[in-house]
Amino acid sequence: MRYQLITYLRGHVKLKVRGETIESLLNELIQFKIKIWNVKRLSEGMLEFHIHLNDFFKLRPLLKKTGCRMTVVKRYGAPFFLNKIMKRQFFISGIALFLAGIFILSTLIWNVEVIGNERLTSEDILEEAEDLGLYKYQFKFKMDNLDLIAKELTKRLPETSWVGVELKGTKIQIKVVESTIPEEEPLYNPRNLISTSDAIITKIFAEQGNPMVKVNHRVKKGDILISGVLGDEENQEIVVAKGEVKGLVWYEYNLKIPLKQEVKIYTGNVKDRKYLVLGNRAIKINGFGDLEFSSFENQLSRHMLSWREYPLHIGWIDEKVLESNLMERNLSIEEAKAVGIQQAKSDILFNTGIETAIVEENIIEADEKDGMIYMQILFEVEQNITTEQPITEFNEIF
């Protein structure tokens, strides 16, 4: 019983034995070490048991010796099964054909895939590959060495820096690494760089063009800082002026800051509401009752269900009602001044860019009047002061 699989593979038969001295047959079997099992007495002088197929042929002399007769009741196991199958020629040839078909089909290339290309089209690459004997429905053994094909492909496609060809089962994968082309610079018109405002130059660096000013020069708005005209009047070349010019610029701010400021604060009282959303309608399902808040703010968060990318038009809304209060805050004069300076500074940075450095700030005047502070502030700022001016025929004369 433990070796059921082996027993199946060896094959066994169920026998019926008739005879007077059946017990002596059993003893003979034991003596010759023939294994039998499932021995049943069917009637007087009739025994049924199982025996291995190869032991079956040793049985005949023992039967003769004990004067018994036997009939085979049933055959079990692989040898009989195979015997039965081998008789069915068409079935066998079908299996063989099927296996052969699978084998032949698996030696074909079923798919050629191109990955990694961005600028090159897959069609172009596939065309070149086909030229080298790499195409769909091609036999694997007819192809050249894949490394050689990869090398040849790299040669034929000049826009690539590397091509790899890999066989993955019945699929050919062509991996392409395109050579990177440097980014094209935007085109500029011939130009001068001029000043955006009155300033004292603190730094000038001309990458291209003719610098017209030096550090510590005072310039007015519209003065040329770096000229795009090179050479004297006879031998002239017009270029795109490029460079960086920084200068000190002055800003004056007149501000009025109220001393009383209103600030909105939350009291911490919250009321939750929930809505069920069906299509375009929302039905309140939680948070009924009147609001006791005199002033409040709503926060809505919407959760819509979807299956993959298809919206289901069902969802819910969580609403939070936050009670708020307006508080009045009194600023001291110092605080008001600080607020004013901060406002002015952020205004300057917003207008001139992040590279700007505020060198000095001076409060010239600060008066308190009718609960307001009127103040005048002067800033000295180091900033980029260039802007471009295209060179036209008219400009060139000057």
Binding site: L29, W37, R41
Partner: protein
């Protein structure tokens, strides 16, 4: 001679605390409920019907009485019986 041998065997079995079946060539009978029965060290089948199985032993016989008795496996020294076992009789001398 045989008597001396027997005594010597008994003595060794006692001294070394060995199982008796090894020393005296006796059958070892294992029963699982009344459904399965192993007999080791038998000497052949004397009689086998659905109700009764008589096994020859080195000394005497073993009678197994029951219903629907089937020999699941039989080897030169082992028998494995299944069925409803009702009675196991040990007959010391020849029947």
């Amino acid at each position: 001679m045989s008597r001396i041998k027997k005594k010597l065997r008994k003595f060794t079995a006692n001294v070394l605390d060995l199982p008796k079946d090894v020393i005296f060539d006796l059958p070892r009978i294992t029963m699982i409920g009344n459904m399965q029965l192993y007999v080791e060290n038998h000497r052949g089948v004397v009689q086998f019907t659905t109700d009764k199985l008589t096994l020859k032993l080195s000394v005497g016989h073993l009678e197994i009485i029951g219903k629907d008795l089937v020999i699941r496996a039989i080897l030169s020294e082992e028998v494995f019986i299944e069925g409803v076992v009702e009675d196991v009789k040990y007959i010391q001398k020849d029947v």
